[in-house]
């Protein structure tokens, strides 16, 4: 067990606003807000705007760790002196669901395991992550990806809704510091709190439609085995190649860098902007050769990377089951459905039945 329950506290909901106000002492407060019928993470001035009952935001909180357009350096044309004008501020991201916390830990691995990116490290050091329990909807499948609970601890505090209070688990010394500094707002846990907490976490499972969840066991092999399946062509026929699935994904990290000169011809900025493997230019090389010329190849690449690539590169699946890619896809392509088709759900059912028959004999 990685976290110590004796370090947990209880935050009565009546103190919630004060808690949010208190967080502002630790940096710029960022939390989910409502925009028409959707939610998004934004800088919070007025804490009454914070939405705790949200299912998913359009973009994951990664936009505050790796902005979608960011300057890496600027340099002087004559001296070629490279400067990074990067001055990160302390920030507190509140209200991150478990899947997104896992998403961040995947980004941590990508950016920091090998050749650590100093800018990412700097932002990450200055970011406090505060998790929040959630209720899944039809698009969520974090139970299958094993990311329904915040078990790894790359976060600082995690709030679980237990009715009239939040059960607050503390995941880091920074989290502890926050709790201590806002001592007056918390109370000690009681037996009932603990049992409510246990109940609420163990019940999460039942909030899912278990029949609809994909089976991700040996998913890497399935993708490799079905590499030539027609399912790819079928699904890709619908794919618009719009890149929505990767832009909204908490674990996608691809970017393109471009040097942008200014009008005076003196200062050049090297800007990195988020891109997507679904765009043809992504694999375009000199001579006009596309390595992934077909839409189906690009389509397949995303699944391949999520379920085979990440496993090789960082030893985790690249999908945390947040459901964003399926919920936002204009063509309504669903990751879960594609996987099921690949596996051949029907076959599996028959198999199971056949298996049950033989084993009961």
């Amino acid at each position: 067990m990685e976290f110590h329950i004796d370090k947990a506290k209880v935050l009565p909901k009546s103190n919630f606003r004060l808690f949010l106000e208190g967080l502002k002492n630790f940096g710029v407060l960022i939390a989910p807000k409502k925009k028409k019928e959707k939610f998004f993470f934004d800088v919070i001035d007025d804490t009454s705007e914070v939405e705790v009952d949200y299912t998913r935001t359009i973009l994951p909180p990664k936009k505050f760790l790796i902005p979608y357009r960011r300057e890496r350096f600027s340099y002087d044309v004559e001296t070629l002196e490279f400067k990074d004008n990067f001055t990160p501020e302390n920030q507190v991201i509140f209200g991150i669901h478990s899947c997104d916390l896992h998403g961040i830990s995947i980004l941590d691995s990508v950016y920091l395991k090998e050749n650590p990116d100093p800018r990412y490290l700097e932002v990450r050091k200055r970011t406090v992550l505060i998790g929040l329990s959630c209720k899944p909807d039809d698009f969520c499948f974090c139970l299958s990806t094993g990311t329904a609970f915040p078990d790894g601890t790359n976060w600082d505090l995690f709030l679980t809704d237990i009715g009239s209070d939040y059960f607050v688990t503390i995941g880091s010394p920074k989290g502890d510091e926050i709790v201590i500094s806002l001592k007056g707002l918390f109370r000690e846990i009681t037996k009932e709190d603990l049992s409510l907490y246990k109940k609420s976490t163990s019940q999460k499972k039942f909030l899912f439609n278990l029949d609809k969840l994909p089976d991700l066991g040996r998913i890497s092999q399935v993708i490799e085995l079905e590499y030539d399946s027609e399912v790819w062509e079928e699904e890709a026929k619908k794919c618009l190649g719009c890149g929505t699935c990767t832009n909204v994904c908490p674990t996608c990290f691809c970017y393109t860098a471009v040097d942008i000169p200014d009008l005076n011809g003196k200062k050049i900025s090297r800007v990195e902007f988020t891109t997507s493997c679904q765009y043809p230019y992504y694999s375009l090389v000199a001579g006009g050769h596309y390595f992934k010329p077909k839409r189906s190849a690009r389509f397949k690449h995303r699944y391949y990377h999520k379920f085979v690539g990440y496993s090789y590169q960082i030893e985790k699946l690249g999908c945390v089951g947040c459901g964003r890619c399926s919920a936002e896809c204009p063509a309504k392509i669903s990751m879960v459905e594609t996987i099921k088709k690949l596996r051949g759900v029907e076959d599996e059912k028959e198999l199971r039945e056949a298996f049950n028959e033989t084993s009961t004999d």
Binding site: L80, S109, L112, Q313
Partner: protein, 292 residues
């Protein structure tokens, strides 16, 4: 309770792997239409001293105003002092580079990638197969081997281009042909003129040279670099002639923005061409989809 970057917190900040070192263009040589060879030295003496690389590795070269491009190092690490890069003019950034002059500043970071397994190759025959601009990274390997000639057994170089005009390093290759410690077979797609015939007496595809190589395939390491389309045919021919797939190494080109496994563009299947490559054993082509 561990954050995945906890150990980084205790160490001093790593040097910024994105930050290039200033270098000076000392020499530019026209090799063929749209192909130039650039020589560089770092402004910082210390960097010059410390610089070393493995043949097959590449650098990220900042072309001022235009951006960064991955370019294979075509000079050998055995010859210290300058780094040489051969660049073909194909697009936005390379055309700006082609307009630069000796004395101009650029910036370089690297070397990146795995390079050819030169140490494992020791004690074996080496067969080098280059097509077109593919000779650039292999030139690094050729000179490396020649400078450590005693470590390797028989060495063959096969080089194919469209015509004589597009042959790179013409003088150098002509002299290599005269050496008797290596065997060089050059070929042109189609003879068009007398100069073509003077260069070589062979006409046709580079794959036709492979059966002529008199080496024991089991005892041979093969290094291949050329245009993407050629790999399939070369690979097939090599296998047909008995070369084990695990001993054939190909150098692959992909779009790259970072060179250090962060930008994602260069993914080949589950691998990154920049950190897991750009040199891959032919064996990988079986596992990595769309590799060639």
């Amino acid at each position: 309770m561990k954050k995945s970057f906890e150990k980084l917190l205790t160490k001093p900040l790593p040097i910024n792997p994105f930050k290039p070192e200033k270098a000076l263009i000392t020499d530019i040589e026209d090799l063929a239409p749209d192909h130039k060879k650039f020589s560089f030295v770092f402004l910082n003496e210390e960097v010059n001293e410390k610089w070393s690389h493995i043949p097959g590795q590449f650098v990220m070269l900042t072309v001022p105003k235009a951006g960064e491009i991955p370019i294979s190092i075509c000079s050998s690490p055995t010859r210290k002092g300058t780094i040489e890069l051969t660049v073909r003019k194909v697009g936005r950034k390379t055309e700006v580079l082609h307009r630069m002059k000796p004395g101009d500043l650029v910036a370089i970071r690297g070397p990146y990638g795995n390079g050819f397994p030169v140490e494992i190759m020791e004690g074996h025959n080496v067969l080098i197969i280059a097509g077109g601009l593919g000779i650039a990274p292999l030139r690094s390997l050729i000179w490396y081997i020649l400078d450590k000639r005693h470590l390797y057994k028989d060495v063959y170089i096969l080089y194919g281009t469209r015509n004589y005009e597009s042959v790179l390093y013409k003088e150098e290759l002509r002299r290599l042909k005269e050496r008797n410690d290596i065997k060089c077979l050059y070929i042109l797609d189609k003879f068009k003129s007398e100069v073509d015939k003077k260069w070589t007496n062979r006409e046709g595809l580079i794959t036709t040279l492979i059966p002529e190589v008199a080496l024991d395939p089991q005892e041979t390491f093969v290094a291949v670099c050329g245009p993407p389309v050629a790999y399939r045919f070369i690979g097939k021919e090599l296998i047909k002639n008995g070369y084990p797939e695990s001993q054939v190494f190909v150098s692959l080109e992909r779009k790259m923005e970072c060179g250090i496994g962060k930008c994602g563009h260069c993914q080949i299947g589950y691998k990154f061409a920049c950190v897991d490559g750009p040199i891959f054993p032919l064996w990988d082509t079986k596992n990595l989809p769309e590799m060639i």
